[in-house]
């Protein structure tokens, strides 16, 4: 080890990996992963979220799962909880849609209205 910068580099590299175990209050992306969700294709959606978060090196984002959200016909369902904002429920997601949500909603703060449950039920 020749410099503190070197140490800091290792720290930053690993931080993302262990971040999950620290107390943090960032955005939570919750994917419905009951049998209905999985059958409708929730796993590729979940993986797309994880991949995008990693690709963009986003901090303080937790991608996690939950059980059946209740409206099985609209699966795969994903709920996004941003601190201080109301929860947004997205329905009938695909990996492509997931990528757009990460870019527009999670990064830029613009809810992708056309994918939300409100739009689907109109």
């Amino acid at each position: 080890m020749k410099s503190i910068q070197e140490l800091e580099q290792i720290k930053q590299r690993t931080l993302q990996e262990v971040n999950l175990r620290k107390d943090r209050k960032g955005t939570r992306v919750v994917v419905g992963m009951a049998t209905c969700g999985i059958a409708a294709g929730a796993r590729p959606v979940l993986l797309a979220f994880v991949e995008e978060v990693q690709k963009r090196n986003l901090q303080d984002i937790t991608v996690t799962q939950t059980g059946c959200v209740g409206v099985c016909r609209l699966e795969p369902i994903v709920e996004v909880y941003k601190p201080g904002e109301e929860k947004v429920t997205y329905v009938k997601l695909t990996p492509e849609k997931a990528k757009r949500i990460v870019a527009e909603h999670i990064v830029n703060g613009q809810v992708v209205t056309e994918y939300t449950i409100g739009a689907a039920e109109k």
């Binding site: 080890m1 020749k2 410099s3 503190i4 140490l7 290792i10 720290k11 590299r13 690993t14 931080l15 993302q16 990996e17 262990v18 999950l20 175990r21 939570r28 919750v30 994917v31 419905g32 992963m33 009951a34 049998t35 969700g37 999985i38 979940l46 993986l47 994880v50 978060v53 990693q54 937790t62 991608v63 996690t64 799962q65 939950t66 059980g67």
Partner: protein, 598 residues
């Protein structure tokens, strides 16, 4: 670096290891592979979580779900339900003893952790101890970097002095002062040593630290090396700690690979190396002078002090010797400042103390509390109280060198000085809880039996004196005690304390003296009434059948292995005390609870 959406932390400490955590890790590996989840879910083997009583423990992040008492059979369910479908498996979650019906789902909700303050144990159960990168991610080696680039050795020593940190090995000597002595001692070659020869029965704080966070010890030793002007460290660890030895070996290798140990660390002209020395199982080698002789490759026997190690230690060079837990606090003090550290604790005892909680207690395990926490809080709030609603009798601190704390002192704040005042000592941190079923004379005999065994035999007070004390205790517990035996024990004990060569002998009489101080009546009952009030000492035990309660069913005669019970059918039976071997089988079998011991 790969991003994982979920982390599964399996406790790999010795406690959980022996209750089968290795099999659980294998099961997780197999299940994750089966469901193709290997790239999404990270499996981590960590150090001790502290709640050994309910091991093996598994924690799943990001939820922080706290599973306890997990078996390999449970793993497929956790993987399928929780990891695949996101449904926490409720019936496998930890149950709080205090609230029988409540299931606790996350780590932060567990009563056991609420009153704790994890400073020394901060990384235990959080990081993977076999990966240096994870330690670095949690600010590891940052303190060493700061020390080497921004601070002078005297700055470091002054910071440690200002923090008020005292030696966690038990005696409580101010750490900063010790470092200063070692720095000021003249000599071109100096050594930094770590005492990891944790030998007290029932103590496992140091083991858990070494297993859960080995790099923090290495970092602290390097800091100490810089502060006192040394380039060589030794960790003296007992060979009975195979997991700790393995993780230390890995840690030293990784630190060397990254250049955090070795030559010119952080591009400065400071070089430092650490080697392991394994103890071969002698308790006395935890005593500092004996430990240093053992490092040198000589027979582990103590030598008189002075000269103190700071002047003439390993290979007759100035040596700094600290305990594992003391070192574990150092990086945090450097990073957060002396003031941050000294805000925790009492006036004369700063920071926290780790205790290994054992004996008659619900939550057996590892706890870390601020100095000044009362024994009552540790036993009832954190420890979850005493099983089966039994009454608290005493707590034993400091192992074979310490003493007993009776119920009347439950509210004593735990720090070095308060414990010394009530005739016990902080010791390294073993805390054994005893209830009404424990005989205090027998406990004293147990500890003395240990020290007699472990006495190195060099000085007569310890070699002969403790043996004589043990003989007296044997005499008392076997029912042959005489008037005057207690006084003899006291006199012998005080003489040994005053005249023994090393800490082992000087403290060996403590368990006897402190039980005499608080439980003299039990000693007297053994001697005068030939009775053991707790019903432990076999020779003093008598089983009797109450003629009022006995219905003469004859079940007891059938279970008695020595045919000591006789009587007519449907008439009260009697036990022949000469034949009875006091096995207690009859009392257990009697449907009318007519047989009592006393």
């Amino acid at each position: 670096m790969k991003l994982y959406r979920s982390h599964v932390l399996v406790c790999g400490g010795t406690g959980c290891h022996s209750s089968g955590s290795a099999g659980i890790i294998d099961a997780f590996q197999a299940e994750l592979k089966k469901h193709n989840l290997e790239d999404e879910i990270k499996l981590v083997s960590t150090g001790c979580f502290g709640l050994c009583a309910v091991g093996p423990v598994v924690v799943v992040y990001p939820e922080g779900a706290f599973y306890s008492g997990i078996k390999a059979e449970d793993v497929p369910r956790i993987v399928e339900e929780h990891l695949l479908k996101g449904r926490i498996v409720n019936d496998l979650l930890y149950h709080d003893h205090a609230k029988a019906e409540d299931v606790v789902s996350t780590l932060d909700e567990v009563e056991f952790y609420k009153k704790q303050k994890r400073m020394a144990l901060r990384n235990c159960g959080v990081i993977n101890p076999e990966k240096i990168e994870e330690y670095i991610a949690f600010d590891g080696y940052k303190a060493l970097a700061r020390v080497l680039t921004e601070m002078t050795p005297m700055d470091v020593i002054n910071e440690i002095k200002a923090s008020g940190l005292r030696g966690r090995g038990g005696a409580g000597f101010p750490t900063g002062l010790k470092w200063e002595f070692a720095r000021k001692a003249p000599g071109d070659k100096k050594y930094v040593c770590c005492n990891a020869d944790e030998g007290d029965p029932g103590a496992f704080m140091d083991r858990s630290l070494l297993e859960g966070d080995p790099h923090s010890i290495l970092e602290a030793m390097a800091i100490a090396g810089y502060a006192i002007g040394s380039d060589q460290g030794y960790i003296y660890v007992r060979a009975e700690y195979p997991i700790a030895v393995k993780r230390l070996t890995i840690a030293i290798e990784q630190a060397k690979e990254l250049g955090l140990l070795g030559k010119n660390i952080f591009g400065t002209d400071f070089s430092f190396d650490i080697e392991l020395r394994l103890g071969a199982g002698a308790f006395v080698c935890g005593e500092e002078t004996a430990l240093m002789r053992s490092i040198e490759g000589k027979r582990g026997e103590p030598t008189p002090r002075p000269p103190f190690p700071a002047v003439k230690g390993v290979f007759a060079k100035p040596t700094l010797l600290n305990n594992v837990e003391t070192y574990a606090n150092i990086p945090q003090i450097i990073l957060n400042g002396a003031e941050w550290f000294s805000q925790v604790g009492t006036e004369k005892s700063k920071g926290t103390k780790v205790f290994a909680l054992g004996g008659k207690i619900n939550n057996t395990g590892l706890v870390e509390v601020p100095m000044g926490t009362t024994l009552r809080e540790i036993i009832y709030d954190i420890g979850g109280g005493i099983p089966n609603g039994k009454k608290f009798k005493a707590a034993q601190t400091g192992g074979p060198s310490g003493g007993c704390i009776p119920a009347e002192h439950l509210d004593t704040p735990i720090d070095y000085d308060s414990l010394a005042k009530i005739g016990s000592m902080m010791g390294s941190g073993g805390l054994i809880v005893m209830d009404e079923d424990n005989c205090m004379v027998d406990i004293a005999r147990f500890f003395l039996d240990f020290t007699v065994d472990e006495s190195c035999g060099k000085c007569p007070p310890c070699r002969i004196g403790t043996k004589r004390m043990l003989e007296l205790l044997d005499k008392i517990t076997s029912g042959n005690g005489e008037e005057g035996d207690i006084e003899k024990l006291e006199e012998l004990g005080n003489n040994i304390k005053a005249s023994a060569l090393c800490g082992l002998g000087q403290t060996a009489p403590n368990p006897v003296l402190s039980t005499i101080m608080y439980f003299r009546d039990e000693y007297e009952a053994h001697i005068k009434e030939k009775r053991c009030p707790a019903g432990v000492c076999r020779n003093l035990l008598r089983y009797v059948i109450s003629s009022d309660l006995c219905r003469g069913c004859g079940l007891c005669t059938k279970v008695c292995p020595v045919s000591a019970i006789s009587g007519e059918r449907k008439a009260p039976h009697i036990i022949d005390p000469d034949k009875c071997i006091k096995c207690g089988a009859c009392a257990e079998k009697c449907p009318f609870h007519a047989i009592t011991k006393g």
